[in-house]
């Protein structure tokens, strides 16, 4: 026992995507406030193994808030109560002794559950594969400093590029829309000169793929940006809408 917090957890358990899941209740004791939320799950899982119960599956990898793998829907909020923080960087000092915490997987048609809290987000990869790149083969590049880019543009592109592809935006959205994710990539590349040649085509293709994957439409409620652990701005969605509209009007297809 390292700490003195006692908590009640209600966790979504689901063996695989073919069967129904349900919330199970677990009591955890002796939690230290210096633990991360995932370390609290480690403690619970160790105990479940010792009791002969299968541990709870959850996605996680870097545990420093950058890989985008962790994905818990905590008390009705993707990545829990803090702003700008992923589940792995959420620490138990954000909770109180005696709290009940409900933990569910991301919920979206385009993110089917694999097991317990683990979902399939390969739809995001397919969106990127549809157009989220600059078509430049290795070896074609000119000198890096031959193309000056105003600092302000570079900074804005960087802010959009900071998206970690975790899917919290989709999970937060009542329509399960992926507009924030798509718009972040479209914005990054349309703000930079390198992205200009394919600018219109990119917006059209990525939006088409997003629709094909079964993500919902955007109704501008802004929950995505409010819950985004990297604080990707809603301005990106406005920019994507302009890009898309411009592309549709200018399309030669």
């Amino acid at each position: 026992m390292e700490g003195n917090m006692n908590l009640t957890l209600k966790v979504w358990r689901q063996k695989n995507k073919k069967v129904n899941g349900k919330l199970e209740t677990y009591k955890v004791a002796g939690i230290s406030e210096d633990m991360s939320f995932l370390e609290m799950f480690d403690v619970l899982n160790e105990r479940l193994v010792s009791e002969g119960t299968e541990p709870i599956s959850f996605d996680h990898d870097c545990r420093e808030g950058i890989c985008g793998m962790c994905s818990m829907y905590i008390n009705g909020q993707p990545h829990g109560p803090l702003q700008g923080v992923t589940t792995c960087q959420l620490h138990m000092r954000s909770f109180k002794d005696g709290d009940t915490i409900v933990v569910e997987p991301w919920r979206a048609v385009a993110f089917p559950v694999i097991k317990d809290l683990v979902v399939d987000r390969s739809s995001f990869d397919r969106i990127i594969a549809s157009g989220g790149f600059v078509s430049v083969n290795t070896g074609n590049a000119q000198d890096g400093n031959s193309l000056p880019i105003p600092k302000d543009d570079a900074d804005k592109a960087f802010m959009a590029a900071a998206c970690i592809g975790c899917g919290a935006c989709v999970s937060a959205c009542k329509n399960a829309s992926a507009m924030l994710f798509v718009s972040a990539k479209v914005s990054q590349l349309s703000l930079l000169p390198q992205g200009q040649p394919e600018r219109q085509d990119r917006a059209m293709k990525m939006v088409a793929q997003m629709d094909a994957e079964g993500f919902g439409t955007c109704t501008n409620t802004g929950a995505c940006a409010a819950e985004c652990p990297k604080e990707i701005s809603l301005e990106n969605i406005a920019r994507l809408n302009r890009e898309y509209l411009g592309a549709s009007l200018g399309s030669t297809n």
């Binding site: 990898d61 870097c62 545990r63 683990v118 987000r121 400093n145 000056p148 970690i164």
Partner: protein, 660 residues
């Protein structure tokens, strides 16, 4: 009996080797490329860049990663930057200087030929990334910005805030996904390689496990590229991601690939200290923080005052004191040992006393004054200056400061940060020749998974450089020397006996693991292995400790194979089973690391044997007896054969490394 390893370094002057070799390496014509299949395991910087580039060239590529998306590979977490000899700052940088700094930084234990090539291609990496739309930091004039890293006296590090690895990986990932979209790469996510298939001594494919369904799959390739990263997680606690593992490299090793310099481990000096037994991983605070931060401990032992309460004259800036020429920017191995030395001597800070301060008070004041001058505010108050200074620091390092605050609950803008060294990177890895091919024909290792460029200590911002160099600019050329002779090899059907046998062996091991039905979790064995490794094969090693460690690891291995408990089934998503397989491989690797550390009776770079140090406590090399790469050949359980590859220095004068 040792076998002679041929590194295949091209003849000729160092500056011409690569250019000349690249122009003479056999080519594969476009039509033949379409029928040659390449398997790439791992999608970090090395794997993603290699897979994308080889696909662009026309090869048929299959790429594998254990994560749910190639974008999550642990390269994504690299913070500080990427080196390149561009000399944009006009501060005297050159290919030769980058080459020299890297060889010296590696404590004269890396290959001249490979390192020079790395320095030569470094500039092209930056160009390629810029062209992909990687948003590097820029100056107001629109040009690329640079900063300094340890072990150098020039500014050659390119960066994107504290998220350089993320931006570079997303660049490589977008290139990879572009090829997936076109259909030149088939991507297998949530797949783990569990064996290399060899036919007539050549690598011809892999056995992979679909981690979602538990199914084993057979995949053929004319060659196999392992881009599977390092093995720092053998220590349990490290800055690596939870899933980072040695399994792919270890399977290759057991199929005949030599493992080189396994004991060379990088302990990074600036990580957030351990807070308790629950700790699952450690978090790095980028080396770039040493540009502006000052490291110190109290001059008095067991000083219990808070950092801010200790007056200036009672602080010991021990790096500046011991190494005036490089100060806080000495290489990582030296900074780590110096921190350990102070803490062991009783000068540590914080509750655990196993930490030193990284202080930003000076930087905040300095930047604040510069800002005040820029704004013509010459009568600014101390508070105003401090506010302006904090804003500058926030722009440069904001995300790192936020992360520190989130983890420790302390505000680094107000209090000095507490830091302590932690396992970060492994210089050792699969032995490769100049072509990046292991001694198993057709089997390659790229990036951190190989051993070739960093000697006994890697300089900061060089891992990203090496990963991308290998993937974008080295393998696309060097693979031709092998594949040009494979154009007549038709795809081998996967019902070939070698595939059947390899799959059967993998299946049997899984069944064996599940049938142990013991009492202890895979995690608990991993923790215990980590403790042995950290205490006896960590920052300081001794003959006695290493011998004890070997015995303890062998005992742990027996216990693992008789008492591990894995719940769940083989034919489903089962992270416990995957973890158990990885821990079993780490245990075997741990033993080899200790064997290697015991064999190397000298101190060099990250390998510090207590018996071999100068009077000032610096690493004492033995060039006469140990100027070689230790390549270990697997000969059976706990048995290895040493194949030394002598290191030849024709262009750099060997000296005792000094940063004073």
């Amino acid at each position: 009996m040792s076998n002679k390893l041929d590194a295949k370094i091209p003849e000729g002057p160092i500056a011409d080797k690569w250019t000349k070799y690249r122009s003479t390496v056999p080519l594969v014509n476009p039509a033949n490329k379409r029928s040659l299949e390449i398997i790439v395991v791992g999608t970090g910087l090395a794997g993603a860049s290699a897979a994308a580039t080889l696909a662009e060239m026309g090869y048929k590529v299959k790429a594998f990663c254990f994560q749910d998306s190639p974008r999550r590979a642990h390269s994504i977490a690299a913070q500080g930057g990427i080196n390149a000899a561009k000399n944009y700052q006009n501060d005297g940088d050159s290919v030769y200087r980058l080459f020299y700094d890297t060889i010296k930084g590696g404590d004269y234990r890396s290959r001249e030929g490979n390192v020079h090539r790395l320095a030569e291609v470094s500039g092209s990496i930056i160009d390629q990334c810029v062209a992909q739309g990687v948003p590097f930091a820029r100056e107001y004039g629109g040009l690329l910005s640079n900063r300094s890293f340890g072990g150098t006296q020039v500014q050659r590090t390119f960066y994107a805030a504290g998220q350089t690895g993320q931006q570079l990986l997303l660049g490589a990932y977008s290139g990879l996904e572009r090829q997936v979209g076109i259909g030149n790469v088939t991507m297998y996510t949530r797949h783990e390689m569990l064996d290399v298939v060899t036919i007539d001594g050549k690598a011809r494919g892999i056995i992979a496990k679909n981690l979602v369904t538990g199914e084993l799959e057979r995949h053929f390739g004319h060659s196999v590229l392992l881009c599977t990263g390092g093995y720092g997680n053998v220590f349990y606690l490290s800055t690596n991601a939870m899933g980072s593992n040695v399994t792919a490299a270890w399977k290759a090793h057991k199929k005949g690939a030599n493992f080189a310099n396994p004991c060379y481990t990088q302990i990074h000096p600036t990580c957030i200290p351990v807070s308790g037994d629950h700790q699952s991983k450690l978090t790095l605070m980028s080396e770039s923080l040493r540009n502006d931060g000052r490291i110190w401990v109290p001059k008095k032992q067991n000083d219990t005052r808070l950092g801010n309460d200790i007056p200036e004259e009672e602080r010991d800036y021990y790096l500046e004191r011991r190494y005036p020429a490089f100060g806080n920017l000495v290489p990582r191995d030296i900074a780590s040992r110096a921190a350990k030395e102070r803490c062991d001597a009783g000068y540590g800070v914080g509750a655990s006393k196993m930490a030193v301060y990284l202080d930003y008070a000076y930087a905040i004041e300095r930047y604040g004054k510069i800002e005040a001058n820029k704004k013509n505010m010459h009568n600014s108050s101390k508070e105003e200056i401090s506010e302006m200074g904090k804003a500058v620091v926030k722009e440069k390092y904001g995300n790192l400061f936020d992360m520190y605050k989130q983890i420790t609950g302390e505000d680094p803008y107000e209090l000095p940060m507490r830091i302590y060294p932690a396992v970060h990177y492994t210089m050792g890895g699969l032995w490769v020749d100049y072509n990046l091919m292991t001694n198993v024909p057709g089997l390659y290792a790229l990036g951190e998974a190989n051993f070739s460029d960093h000697g006994a200590n890697r300089l900061g911002a060089s891992a990203l450089m090496q990963g991308l160099a290998d993937g974008y600019f080295v393998i696309p050329y060097t693979i031709g020397s092998y594949l040009s002779s494979e154009i007549r090899t038709k795809a081998i059907p996967t019902d070939h006996p070698a595939f059947v046998e390899a799959e059967k062996a993998v299946q049997e091991r899984i069944t064996k693991l599940l049938n142990i039905k013991g009492k202890q979790s895979p995690e608990s064995f991993h923790k215990r292995l980590g403790k042995i490794m950290w205490e006896k094969c960590g920052m300081a090693r001794s003959e006695k400790g290493l011998k004890e460690a070997i015995a303890e690891i062998q005992a742990l291995k027996n216990e693992f194979w008789s008492d591990v408990r894995i719940l769940g089934d083989a034919d489903e998503f089962n992270p416990e089973l995957d973890k158990a397989g990885r821990v079993a491989d780490f245990i075997e690797l741990g033993e080899l690391m200790c064997v290697d550390a015991l064999n190397r009776n000298e101190s060099c770079g990250g390998h510090f044997r207590e018996e071999y140090q100068t009077e000032e406590g610096e690493a004492l090399r033995d060039d006469e007896n140990y100027m070689y790469v230790s390549a270990w050949e697997y000969e059976g359980e706990s048995k290895w054969n040493l194949n030394p590859e002598p290191l030849v220095y024709e262009n750099i004068k060997i000296a005792q490394r000094s940063y004073k």
